[in-house]
Symmetry: C2
Subunit: 120 residues, 2 copies
DNA sequence: GCGATCTGGTCTATGATCGAGACCGCCGAC
DNA sequence: GTCGGCGGTCTCGATCATAGACCAGATCGC
């Protein structure tokens, strides 16, 4: 598993780690996914909840997540316009392993903060 | 867990997801960690195995991972110089949840590739 | 002796990327 | 009429990554 990380090794398969990093390895995707976890949200709601994301990056991130099938976008033709984003089943299934990562992060936050302080 | 993602919410705690993203959310950290998983490696060995990382980014990434306590750096005063990198226990423990993510990636690679193709 | 080579990096020039904030059309409230 | 909310897009600098040249120190072939 871990040995399959060449850009594209002899077997020609594109390497899962690299793919997952391509999909969600940027600054915001994970945050958006996590913010969307509790349920349907609107654009400005995401903007507010995440707090320090620019509209541009939020828009871009959402479009990419939509393209990759992690979130679904639903436009309601009202005034003012209402656009809702929700996790697809794929997006939800992705949250599963993510939870493991977050749990780890919570458990080891202190250890890393300590390591960082000690570092010369 | 997932609802704790504000930049720094009322409770003042720095939000685990954001932290984990700060630590390993960049393009190369995860790849380096995974490459280092099988055991001790030298700088140029990492460079070769990862393949498309620049020396600069590899150097920078390694220094950050070292600072954060994920990898240990050992310099042998020989000629030519030899520098070895290895995972610390913290780094190894991090690989645990990562494996879940990689498994997910492998299982869902096809689904995402499909979603991407369908995307208008 | 004399250059080539190996190592683990750093430095520099150049291009990609990102964030802040202005701007947009639409409409209802004031 | 003009102010605001909505869901974005556009433009402008600042930041960031990438490729590739360069470095010291020692050893190797010749």
């Amino acid at each position: 598993m871990l040995d399959e990380l060449m850009p594209a090794d002899a077997s020609g398969q594109p390497c899962a780690i690299r793919d997952v990093l391509d999909w969600i390895g940027d600054q915001w995707s994970l945050l958006v996914l996590a913010t969307l976890a509790p349920g349907v949200k609107r654009f400005s709601q995401l903007e507010r909840e995440i707090g320090d994301v620019s509209k541009q990056m939020l828009s871009k991130t959402l479009r990419r997540l939509e393209q990759d099938g992690f979130v679904a976008r639903e436009v309601h033709a009202e005034v003012p316009p209402r656009v809702e984003y929700r996790l697809t089943p794929l997006g939800m299934s992705f949250l599963e392993p993510m939870r493991g990562l977050i749990r780890w992060a919570e458990a080891n936050q202190a250890a890393i903060a300590a390591a960082r302080r000690v570092a010369t």
